[in-house]
Subunit: 96 residues, 2 copies
């Protein structure tokens, strides 16, 4: 299924900037970056549980937030992109 992960990390402090880098680094392991703080990931239930658990350990829940959107398996018609940057298909094929 397609899982969209979006995050807000408070980068006012060095510790915050470090959290942001860590969150992004983990998300890269699970999916495609489509915008600065937006990743599209094709995950099964176990992988989804795993990435949520990893990200929860990184963020400061008082300052940062994560959102997960579950778009199911028939997601291709549910996503639209306008403007800059190539969009990447979540399964790895570059769409131009």
């Amino acid at each position: 299924m397609l899982v969209l992960i979006t995050y807000d990390v408070n980068t006012e402090t060095a510790a915050g900037r470090k959290r942001l880098r860590k969150v992004a680094k983990q998300c890269v392991n699970y999916g495609q970056r489509v915008q600065n703080s937006v990743f599209e990931c094709i995950l099964d239930a176990a992988q989804c549980f795993q990435v949520k658990h990893i990200l929860e350990q990184i963020i400061d829940p008082k300052q940062d937030s994560l959102r997960f959107y579950y778009l199911g398996n028939n997601y291709k018609t549910k996503v639209e992109h306008i403007g800059a940057k190539p969009t990447y298909e979540a399964e790895g094929v570059l769409m131009v």
Copy 2:
């Protein structure tokens, strides 16, 4: 239906920062801000067409991007939030 709008605007220039403010201001008219560059909007087809058209006029398609995710009407189980900030139900009721 729930439409998720995410955007990346290049804010390296004053013109870019102005575009960012304009995009955010328009999104506020159509939905709830759930993260810095993420809005959840309950829209019918006409409103969706309208907001897309408005945002397309604001952004610089060479530098900025918009993404739209269509989550349908049964979206409540498709969204999960972890961490800071209250989440707002897209129809306006604060979830605590």
